[in-house]
Amino acid sequence: MDILSKQPLSLESVIADRRLVDRLAAEGLISAEVRTQAMELIYPAKSWGLWASRLLLLLGVALILAGVIYFFAFNWQQITPAQKFIGIQLSILACLLGSYCYGIQQRLSGKVLLLCASVLVGVFLAVFGQVYQTGADAYTLFLTWSLLILAWVLFSEFAALWVVWLGVTNTFLVLYWNQYLLPEKDVEILIFPLLALFNGLFLGLREFYDLRGANWLSARWTRVLLVLTILVCALPPAFLLIDAPTRATTSVVSGSLVTLIVHLVLYNFYRFKVCDLWSQAAIYLSICILSVTAFHKVFRNIFGSESLTLLLLGFVTLGMFTVAVVSLRKQSKN
């Protein structure tokens, strides 16, 4: 047994898999006939077919989309701009029509076609900029892209499409901040708390609809992805505050306040309201990293000696991560 895990084992917690059945057969505890039946119970032929078919769909579509992007990036001169536009627009229409026929919310094929249409809108806008040399800032492309696909993203009930939309919109926000708002040096850090809050809004919506029984949102990866994004966005102002507290600007202090609030809210929610250990682990990790940075600063200021600082920091790190692990283990038992 892994020497960190010491708990009595129940068969209820063991997932039956191929290895388990094969091992029983290899030890002569079950016959070949029983093995075959057990395999059929664990892996119904249908589930393999469905899995392979979905894999083929996703890979096939990814390759075709990559091919389309390469094609327009090549900027083939023998095709007139009109032909390019017509080609992309027809492709978008075909995807939308296909999606409608398959059922936007019913089948994976319909949802994937909608995803294709969304990517093709981005391709269309890029080609538009390429042909007319509009000279517009890149943020306008992402803004238009985000707005144009928003309607069908809202109705799609497809988490992957939401991820694409959030990616496009986050890119717009960053570019808008840097290319249009042109913030002064002392407020440029505010983009991080803004992004944390923006993504936090969508995490809140995700949880709200998940609690109301929206099945398409129930996959854990959607939650963990958003939590990680929020934590990564929330950290930079706090690092700056720890690094130079005396030189901290108002934006660094307010950004750090957002960092604190984000951690408190996320911890309380995933600890007491919806117990999610992956999200909690991410929050603990973020808190530990912030604390290690803070302790490093404090020890250096107090002791002045690098060796003593490193020694103490090693013990403090061990202590903090131990508390995190014990806390998570307690909850997983409960």
Binding site: K6, V14, A16, A52, I64, A66, L285, G314
Partner: protein, 380 residues
């Protein structure tokens, strides 16, 4: 897609087998005992392993920094490094032993974290020391050290993260030793391919042989991860091969060497995997699987080893309910596809044609499965 994985528990499986009359009630205790025994090498949840690993890594670096700054260990003396490294490993084992009988509480966890941290520090210092002993061939020394440490601690120190990291270190240093060996001449490509094929075969054996204990899963994961990393970065290395030393360039050739033997091995591995998960070689004669075999062979002729490897990881992960393996394959697939087409010496236009063509072939495969009724998509 992953939610399609079955999540039938061992209890439920045994109950269903009993109710179908295939297994007698009297056989249940023996079966349960065997399953429990096998699960003794079970793992901590992944999120805890990540947390433990990061915590131990940060504290190890702090302590190593302390030893260096306080000049307790001279990093220029191999004797010091080996001696202190050895002592730290011994201390790690002692602390683990001390924690063994304790209840699972804060103290136990702290001792285990400390033990892992000591083990990490000890292994790093020992490896550095042995590498210095082999000067100017430090890489060979690193291989000897990691091999000694892994073999010596694998069964004594039963922490899966440590087993995984140690085994990965052996696999990667072995590869680096062969890759940068200047004396191999024309055999260079063959030897590298041979090493990679051996890693593939060994990983495949550990994953698919039912007699292999769970304790060897970290080793299997280490081999798969190392192989993935190597296959991922080799094309990049080859594209910048002109920047390496002349001797090595003479040995591996101006544009690198062919990975065709590895590609062939991966094709064969995929066919074996299909037979394994399909329930035997005879099943390959059935239409969907025989078409899949033809598809794999075609893919092998036009594709890169990375793509085949990602596919193998996904199939293995799905077939074995190893979500980590499945996710690794899923994440690697776009990276491999991107690297592959990036390094192809074709114009963007030609690449786009190849990509769209490949995509259409895969969609045709899906169409076939749907038409034949093998993949009825559930309506939500």
């Amino acid at each position: 897609m992953s939610h399609q994985m079955s999540s039938i528990t061992a209890t439920s499986l045994l109950e269903q087998l009993v109710s179908s009359g295939k297994v007698g009630v009297g056989e249940l205790p023996k079966l349960s005992e065997s399953i429990k025994e096998d699960q003794q090498d079970g793992e901590l949840p992944l999120y805890l392993r990540i947390l433990v690993g990061i915590g131990a890594a940060i504290s190890s670096f702090c302590f190593i920094g302390f030893l260096s700054v306080a000049k307790i260990v001279s990093f220029s003396s191999e004797g010091d490094l080996i001696g202190v490294g050895f002592m730290l490993i011994a201390a790690a084992l002692a602390v683990a032993l001390l924690a063994r009988e304790k209840e699972h509480n804060l103290k136990h966890s702290f001792l285990m974290q400390s033990s892992f941290c000591l083990m990490g520090m000890g292994k790093i210092l020992f490896t550095m020391g042995v590498a210095m002993l082999f000067k100017p061939d430090e890489m060979r020394g690193a291989l000897v050290a990691t091999l000694l440490l892994t073999v010596g601690t694998y069964h004594v120190y039963r922490m899966s993260i440590d087993r995984f990291l140690s085994s990965s270190a052996v696999a990667l240093t072995l590869f680096l030793n062969v890759m940068f060996e200047k004396e191999l001449g024309l055999m260079h490509g063959n030897v590298v391919n041979l090493i990679l094929i051996l890693m593939l075969v060994f990983a495949g054996f550990l994953f698919t042989n039912p007699r292999v204990k769970r304790a060897y899963l970290p080793l299997a994961y280490a081999l798969s991860t190392s192989l993935s990393l190597i296959v991922l970065f080799l094309p990049f290395y080859f594209s910048s091969v002109h920047t390496v030393s002349r001797e090595l360039q003479r040995s591996i050739g101006a544009g690198g060497f062919s990975l065709m033997p590895l590609t062939v091995a991966l094709c064969l591995g995929l066919v074996f995997l299909m037979a394994h998960v399909g329930g035997g070689w005879k099943r390959l004669l059935q239409q969907p699987l025989s078409i899949a075999v033809v598809g794999v062979i075609l893919l092998g002729t036009v594709s890169a080893p990375g793509i085949l490897l990602a596919l193998a990881l996904m199939i293995l992960g799905y077939g074995r309910h190893e979500r980590l393996l499945w996710t690794l394959g899923l994440l690697l697939m776009p990276a491999f596809i991107w690297f592959y087409y990036y390094t192809l010496e074709l114009t963007l236009l030609e690449k786009s044609g190849v990509l769209v063509g490949s995509g259409c072939v895969l969609l045709l495969g899906r169409l076939y499965l749907t038409v034949r009724g093998y993949a009825e998509e559930p309506v939500s």
